[in-house]
Amino acid sequence: MNLLVCPKTKNLSFDIKRGITSFLLGVEEFTTNQEASFTLDELKEIKKKYPDIEIFLLLNKNLENKEIKKIEKLLKEIDTLGLQGIFFYDQAILSIHNRLNLKTPLVWNQTHLVTNYNTCNYYYDKGCSYALVAGEITLREILEIKEKTKLGLMGTILGYPVMSHSKRRLLTNYFKFLDKDKLKKRYEIKEKERSFYVEEDDTGTSFYEGRLLNGTKVLFSLLEKDFPYVVVFEKGIDDEKLDFILPLYLKILTKKNWTKEEQEELITSSIEKLESDYTSFFYEETIYRVKDHG
């Protein structure tokens, strides 16, 4: 199992010093919900500078007609770089990839939609190699998907979960109504004492959970089941916390046979250092029917 890190800055040296060798990188104009996005030239430079690292790209915005030619050109060029994979949201990318018979492996990454094994198998049949499971399903569901799909499964174990994305400029609109300037990219909002973050960029507005997902406990289960990658989204996490947790995760990945006591100790230390025991939906099911049809 590898630790795949989506960095919060364009300077990869911080994470490389922490021991990270696999990166998930945004691409300018085609990535949403991330701090650091790269141009194609910058990606080529990174490949040259760090020939031994693994690179996946994150192309996770909904594409418009006017962007199709551009993304087609980009995908062709990316295909010459020998990267490890492309995380995609829009089915247009899958379509172009297959139409042009491109070789870079595809990772199905429709944020909230990767929720069952049948659809994973559908995307496997369409040529995908991996999928990043949704953050809104339980560990039990994740493990069942792993058992029943041929796709290589990835799970997110650290980050501030993105809850929603709008094409609308919700912060700009709010401040325009107030006849004020939007002074920053990210604002904190509260509902019944719970905090969330709202952030606006060129692709629209995204909402984030205010609690940091700490998936250390889950990591042991995913390790046991041979998940090929687990993913960390650094956005919004302090350097001090990253300095602690990334090497810890790398240490956990070095072996499988951690005793219960060792696991408990590592989980406890992660909770202390990250100041979060939030496990999102890993152990908590959502409901959807409040009305009984009898």
Binding site: N65, H112, T115, N116, N118, M163, S164, G204, K291
Partner: protein, 394 residues
């Protein structure tokens, strides 16, 4: 040339009959499982069968929404559910989870597959991909402009369906789980608790942060949608009232027919727009159709959603012998009230109520008991299932 389809929602059998009688060409419904309106009344399989029989008797269609994002546990039983729906006479399945595309294509090839707006399809390449998977129709994302819709139609030739009226999601469909995180209800499986209509405290500001959108109203642009080649016009609102559905469906029916019969006038569009704006209790907008949606398309302060008191009574029948309309009361009215009755055929009559009688013929000084059966003298026959509302002063 086939006329554009007017597609209406129905949360139950009664609503389905009303929308079809008032002029919808097709209706979309949800069953007890797999629908994104898990908390609407929805249809049992028996009711789906009855719905199909009723619709087909009028030469109209029924589409079944199977548009949740599946979890593992939802997969079991899907074959039997789809099979029963097909045997009940369903004309198309509306899906969002792509495994269903190949599954339906493999097992029920005779039934059309429509891809839900939940898939957030925003470009021609993705539409082309879906076409190659066997999809007959795509309901486009609601974030597209007129030019973008036209380009998709021109480049793919796929049947395209767009929303024309009703509530809008603030977020991209399929990309919103606010409901999951704030209320534990799964938005992508039909449990959406509409967190986008909540008000949040905003750091450093007194005014609450809100993001609710105004309703969509495309009354002025139906002709444009016909001209660019859209196949189906969809009205939102499986959980809306009978009166709302009759008014909205009937009004768009009138507009569409006027366009095809070269009878469209600016006055008619304005009148229709007025009626549509009044029934919804919310302000309207065209959102992305003409421009990027901006601050004018949202609400920012505590919006009062006033209950609409226009709807006065439902017409049960007409007593030809006594020349009296038989009604079921909905809201208060009294002698002297100026009213209009709009009928499933599109005809509207206006008059002033002079006499109100109870079901036994006793004279009443007012109508104030919902569901009470009343009689109002009127010289000409009025269609069954018509609705009486306050005369709307334009």
């Amino acid at each position: 040339m086939d006329r554009i389809e007017l597609l209406a929602p129905a949360g139950d059998l009664e609503r389905l009959k009303i929308t079809l009688l008032y002029g919808a060409d097709a209706v979309y419904i949800g069953g007890f499982r797999y629908s994104l309106r898990a908390n609407a009344t929805n249809f049992s399989m028996e009711e789906i069968k009855e719905a199909c029989t009723f619709a087909h008797s009028l030469g109209k269609k029924v589409y079944l929404a199977v548009n949740i994002v599946f979890h593992n546990e939802d997969i079991e039983g899907i074959y039997d559910y789809l099979k029963d729906a097909v045997e009940s006479g369903i004309d198309a399945f509306i899906v969002s989870d792509p495994f269903l595309i190949s599954y339906i294509h493999e097992h029920f090839k005779e039934v059309e597959i429509h891809v839900s707006t939940q898939n957030s399809t925003t470009n021609y390449e993705a539409v082309q991909f879906l076409k190659e998977q066997g999809v007959k129709r795509v309901v486009l994302a609601r974030e597209l402009s007129k030019d973008e819709i036209k380009e998709i139609i021109d480049k793919t030739g796929v049947d395209i369906e767009v929303f024309i009226h009703g509530a809008m999601c603030t977020f991209m469909s399929g990309r919103c789980t606010l409901s999951n995180y704030l209320t534990g209800r799964d938005s992508n499986r039909g449990g959406c608790s509409q967190v986008c209509r909540f008000a949040f405290d905003m750091e450093g500001e007194d005014l609450k942060f809100t993001m609710a959108t105004k309703d969509l109203n495309m009354a002025h642009y139906i002709k444009d949608l016909i001209e660019i080649g859209v196949r189906s016009l969809k009205i939102e609102g499986r959980m809306r009232s009978h009166y709302y559905l009759a008014t909205v469906v009937g009004t768009y029916r009138k507009l569409i027919d006027a366009i095809y019969e070269n009878q469209l006038t600016e006055d008619l569009v304005k009148e229709c727009d007025f009626i549509l704006s009044r029934v919804s209790n919310r302000e309207n907008s065209t959102h992305y159709f003409l421009k990027e949606a901006d601050y004018t398309d949202q609400y920012y302060t505590g919006r009062q959603e006033l209950s609409n008191q226009d709807y006065l009574a439902y017409v049960l029948d007409y007593d030809k012998e006594k020349k009296e309309i038989i009604l079921s009361e909905r809201n208060y009215f009294e002698p002297g009230t100026k009213v209009e009755i709009f009928m499933p055929s599109g005809k509207t009559i206006s008059f002033t109520v002079e006499v109100i009688k109870d079901k036994d013929g006793n004279i009443l000084d007012k109508a104030c008991h919902p569901e009470e059966v009343l009689r109002i003298p009127y010289p000409e026959e009025v269609e069954k299932d018509a609705m009486m509302r306050l005369k709307i002063e334009r």
